[in-house]
Each structure stands twice: as C-alpha cells, then as structure tokens.
Symmetry: C2
Subunit: 426 residues, 2 copies
C-alpha cells in the first residue's frame, strides 16, 4: 500500500486527508497538536467571546471514519527528499507521497523587542493568554489611582489593518464597553483607547475602496483610533514606538501585521520566493519532485500574475486538489494545473457590521454580518462546537453578555515552557 | 456605612455576599481569581467531559445586581485582627466585619516527593493540566513499542476513595474506553489500568455500607482496581510506592486523599483544631472577636459530637448564616447558633450509576444518577454554563463522545510560573 504523509492538520492538511480517505492509500497525518484549529475565530477567544475548546476539534475524532488515515502527534524535525523520509521526534517515516501543509507563523520582520512584548493570534494558547492579559489589565486599572498609569493600562495598540487586526479591534471595543458598563463601576469615566495602526493608507487592502472606508468609519464610530501610514518600530511591555517618533504608553500590543512560512520551510531544499514561501509547480509539486506537494501558506504560486494569498480558502482548495492529484497519479492520469477559485473575502467589525466582497457583490453592514456568521458556523468543524459558538453569539447579541471573561492564568504563557515555539501547524 | 470584607469567592464567600447584598452595607469581596469555581465538576474537566470555562463564572458578572457588593481581585497577605484590617498586595482595607472563607488546599501530609509528582483537583488549571497529561500519555503509548513502558504510560493511580477519587476513577475509565474504541486503533488489546487506593477498608466512608459496596462493585465492573487498606508512601513521575513495599509503574498519580485549610489560616491568630482548622464559636465567630467570622473548610465546629465536614453544602449554609448574622448584629438582634442541615451526600460513578444518601433515603444506580445530574445542574451558576454542561452531557450520554479531548498545553502547568500556589480560594 502506498504511503502518503501529510504534515500539518490545518485547513490544507485536513482537506488533503479527507480527499485521500478510502482511496486504498496509507495516509499518515503528522502534527504537534492533537486538534484542528479554526484560526479565523481566535480573535473571539482573545476577547472573551468564545472558549478555546469551541474552535478546536480533536484530529482523532475527525479522522475516525476516514478509511486508511492515521494520526501521529509529533514534531517534524527534518525532511529527506532524496530518501523520501520524514524525520520526527518519534522516529522516521518513509513516504511515497508527501504533502507539506505546515502553515505560517507570525512575522515580526526581525523586530525582536517587539516580538518579546507583543501578543499574536496564531495558536490557541495565544488567544487565551491575550484574554487573560486584557482582563488582568482592567482589574489592575480599577485600583490604579495614578491617572497616567491607569491610561497606559487601558490603552491597546493593534498593529496591522488586515482582517485579524480589524476584527480584533472591533471585538475589543465591544468587550471594553461591556466591562465598563457592567463589571467595573470603579472605571466610570475612564477613557479606553484602542489604536489600530496600519502601514498602508487604508484598512483591508484586499477589499474594494468603498468597503475599506465603511470599515474605517464603523471602527471610528466604535471608538477605535485608526492610524494609517503608521509603522511600529519598537515596543516594550509598557510602550509602543512608531517610526515617526511618536510613543504610546500601552501595556498591550497585538501584532497582526504579517505572517511568514512556518520554520519547517527551512527543512525543504527548494527555491523560495520573496518572503520565504516555497515556489511550487502549477500542480503544487516541487520542481523535479512530482511526489512532493507543498500547499497552503507555505506554497508560492502565481495566478493571473499575482501570488495567491496566504488564506484559509486557498489552503482548503489546495488540500482538496492535492488529494485528488495523488489519486490521479496512482491511476496514471495526467494532472490539470491547480486553479484557485476566489469566492471572495469578508471581515466582521462588530455587532451588525461586517464587510463582504464575493462574486462581484459588495456588501457592508447587517447583510454582510449575517453572511459572515453563517459562513463561519458552516466552516467550523463539529456540531457540538457549532452549538456552543451559536449559544455564545446569541448571549452576546441578545444579552450583551460574554461569560468567558475569566482570568484562567495570570501571566502571558511562557511559550518555551509549554513547548510551543517551533510549531508545524500554521 | 459599615464595611464588610469577605475573603474568598467560593461557596461560602459567594453565599455570604449574596445574603448581605442590599442591606445597606459596603461589602468587599477579595479573591485572587476573578471567578467562582464549581469545584464538584473539576473531575469532568480533567477527563475531557467539560471545558473549564463551563464550571467557572465571573465574579463581577455575578455581583452586578447585588447592591453594595464590590470585588477586588488581589492576594490577601495578612489579617490584623486588632486593627481590623486586611492586607493585600493591592493595599490595606479596614473592616467592621470580616468573613474569612478562604477554603482549603490539597493535603499531601508532608510527602514532598508525592506532591511534586502528583496531580490534584482543586484549581481550574489543575484539571486542564491533568487532561492534557492523560491525553498526552495515550499519544505517547500509541507509539511506544516497549510493552513495559507502554503499560506504565497507561497505568493511572488514584489515591483517596472519597467522592473525588471515586468520581474521577469512574470518569477516567469511561474516557479510556472512548479513547481505545474510537481514537487509538494503535492501542488495540492494550490493558489500561486504573487503580483506586484507599487507606481505609472501604470507599465513600461517609456513605452507608450498602452504597459503599455498590460503588466498589460498580467501579470494579468498569475495570477499576480498588485497593483498600492501601497507603501511598512515595512517588516519582514514573512510579508509585505503597507503604507495604509494592511499587506500581505509573505516569499518573491523582491525589485526592485529603484537604487542609488554606495557607491564609496561618495569618489568623486563633486556636486550631487537629488538622489546622480554626475553632469557631457556635455563631461561627472567633472567640472574643464577634466581628470576625470564619466559615467553610477553614472553620472547625462540632455538631452532635462530630466535626462538620469540609464540603460545599456546609460552606453554602455557613455563608448564608453569616450574612444573616451580620444583618442581625447591625439591628442589635441576638444570634442563634449555626445549625447545619444535612441534606445528604452523593457521588457519581459513571453512566447511569451513582449513589445518593439523602433524607434517610439510600439510592443507587440510575435514580441516584439522575438526581446527581439534576442537582449539579441546579447548583451550577449561570444559565449559559448550564446549557453548555447539558450539551456536553447529552453528547457523552447519547453519542459516547467527548469533544474536549484537546491537548491545549503540553506539560504540567508550572504553578510557580502562573502564580497559583498560595491560593486564597479553596
């Protein structure tokens, strides 16, 4: 039986495995986490809207009905393309086909001090740690009598005006309003500052101009200060410095200004594009290695003269394509080149407010928001998770209530201690 | 306005605060956690049946409608009975009345190596850490070829045959069956050993003989090895040694063999009973200090010649009593002595199986199990939490499915790092 190894259980890896199930192949999924993570909702975990368990699904439960698919929780340490072997902390595995779907990690562009001080939203722990941090700051602010120090505790800087930055800033504005109104009478009259810094001259660059402007207006209406043309140059735990010299006293910096290929990319001997993504052939294989496929955020492929974006829908379609491609190769059938079908993109800003651009239709406001909710529920894996998410959303929407405002740990999770730094899932 | 300080937001503290709300007093609740924890369900978090967020409720959300009640998240560092002052890491607070409801912590009876190696179920983090640990062992066992090492990974020792030990052992047996049947085809034929060690000669000592025997039979039927008259003398991360010299190769030791008063008890200058609990007057006040009340697990009071047990129902009734007592004192009314009304006790063993002893009625099996479910749902705080718990229970019952089998952290939580050792909530 031919052996397929898939590295990573993100959107790409899971879809490849699902497509390969029941095709008479021995499929081995490898990841350091035992769950598939629905990253698009991480920002809601970070803003006390969802429990982390609601957006993760155990891989072994997922693959139970997928004939021929196995899972091994391990860390991939190397890939030997010549020997067709994957090295892991749990031993080496030979393959006939390899699918590398290791995803991406946050890109701090070499700003080490910023990396030290900032939070990001890539891993499940990141989101819970950020929630604990935000709630702890409110608790501290409630008993801080020095006005300047209190303002710094209640100032939040978000870097990056893409969907993650916009969604987090909006959700944080709503959480802050809830905390002020319901939880912290001590903070009456306090000014909670949320700054959204974007290097370019508008938010949501991938969106049409009209939707960009709607998003900005809407965020500003919610009290978010949008700084375009603003680049963060340095940060400590209590201060953020922009490259125009301005400094902002703030205890929170969320970095969502960029991603880069996961560290595992370095283990693959293949040409790279700018940014480090691995250049793949039109069928997503490596040049000269038709048995090795690289998909998702790791892969660099141009379509209509533009590189495909590092987004979940691309990874999903690539995963499905590669699954079918391997089956075709086994049947000695020729491969059509991969073609990404762009269904559009969307971002939610807050209650009743989102933007969506799909199939040439540009939506803003309530209809986009309903579409966003429906789509995210649809793509979330697991009926129980959907129910829990729906329950939380209903509570938030109708009762203006978020019950996950729990400080479950006191400090930023020490990633070295929990072994999370060199992730292989994006 | 008279100031009441309540230390601890467990069952005792919360009930005292609720009773004091709207009585024209300034009530300040202090705790290091910002949530009330429903400890009786911790074992279900540890066995992947519930997410930790479902059994915690934010204090500030709880007290929102309680007139005159405030919350301060802080650590209590000292109590000055003469000056009527509580010292905290966030400053000192004067009081007119003090209610100490700091609860209990795990008692390792001086076995330091055991403490180092063992898990316990007192804090929210403990339960999630134990779940991560158990699931990680299964993942490791799936790829362990050495039979002896594999058996040690799959051997779980539970110490203490009280409700926590019995409930955890039963729930672990059910989780193991689910993991073997659905998740780990690699472990087909593996022998998962769960040993429940109790120093006395039967389980559930507070229960009638018939129910003790039912619990033992039922556990044994589920594959749990019940060792009565067994005392754990030492343990490392890979081995448990009994005081008769037997050693058991096991990577997991859950310690539920005893509790002792929280460390804060040392800060109170008052006579202690054996075990360190603070001796209180019949009205739960300290001798010579009518303005200071000690309640819950911290308090030592005899009723009908026996000390009141360290259990949630006692804490709840003491909290309510003290709330009423302070109101009476303010009105110059005399205090009746506290009288615990024993509604009985219960413990669940597994699916359709529990024991209950209430109002002279002894129930075992399905009716006790239904009563257990209903009562725990009733006492859980928050409608959302009840729905989430009910949803999880329904999934588990009808679909034999637990979706929280996620390894969210890799290692035992370093309690020093997250600042959790000197808890003031039990």
């Amino acid at each position: 039986m031919k052996r397929v190894i898939i590295i990573g259980v993100g959107f790409g890896g899971i879809n490849a495995a699902r497509t390969l199930a029941g095709q008479g192949l021995d499929v081995l999924l490898l990841d350091r986490n035992n769950y598939h993570l629905f990253q698009p909702l991480l920002y809601q975990v970070a803003t006390a809207g969802l429990e982390q368990e609601a957006i993760a699904f155990p891989v072994r439960a997922l693959i139970r009905g997928w004939a021929g698919v196995r899972f091994h929780r391990t860390e991939v340490t190397g890939i030997d393309l010549a020997q067709r072997q994957v090295q892991t902390t749990g031993g080496a595995h030979d393959y006939d086909y390899l699918v590398v779907a290791a995803g991406s990690e946050t890109n701090y562009f070499g700003l080490e001090r910023v990396q030290q001080a900032a939070y990001d939203l890539k891993q499940l722990n990141d989101a819970a740690a950020l929630r604990n941090h935000i709630l702890t700051l409110f608790e501290r602010a409630a008993h801080e009598h020095n006005a300047e120090k209190r303002q710094a505790l209640l100032t939040f800087v978000v870097v990056g005006g893409g969907p993650t930055g916009v969604e987090f800033a909006g959700a944080l504005a709503e959480l802050s309003r809830l905390l002020l109104r319901s939880d912290f009478p001590e903070l009456e009259g306090a000014n909670i500052r949320i700054l959204l810094a974007e290097a370019a001259d508008s938010l949501l660059l991938a969106m049409p101009k009209r939707l960009q402007e709607y998003a900005r207006r809407r965020l500003e209406k919610m009290g978010v200060e949008v700084l375009t043309g603003a680049v963060v140059a340095d940060a400590t735990e209590v201060e953020v410095r922009l490259n125009d010299g301005r400094t902002i006293a703030a205890h929170t910096l969320l970095w969502s200004a960029g991603v880069r290929p996961a560290g595992l990319a370095a283990a693959i001997d293949a040409p790279r594009a700018r940014g480090g993504r691995i250049i793949v052939q039109p069928d997503l294989s490596l040049a000269g290695r038709p048995e090795v496929f690289v998909i998702g955020d790791l892969a660099y492929l141009e379509q209509e003269g533009k590189p495909l974006p590092m987004m979940a829908p691309v990874a999903i379609q690539m995963g499905q394509y590669v699954g079918r491609a391997i089956v075709r190769l086994e049947r000695d059938q020729a491969l059509e080149p991969f073609c990404y079908f762009d269904k559009g993109s969307m971002a939610t800003i807050g209650r009743n407010a989102a933007v969506a651009n799909a199939f040439g239709v540009k939506l803003a406001g309530f209809p986009a928001w309903v579409a966003w909710l429906a789509l995210h529920l649809y793509y979330l894996i697991g009926f129980r998770n959907r129910l829990v998410v729906l329950l939380n959303w209903a509570y938030d929407y109708f009762l203006f209530e978020r019950q996950i405002r729990l400080i479950t740990h006191e400090r930023k999770v020490d990633k070295a201690a929990i072994g999370a730094p060199r992730t292989i899932q994006g």
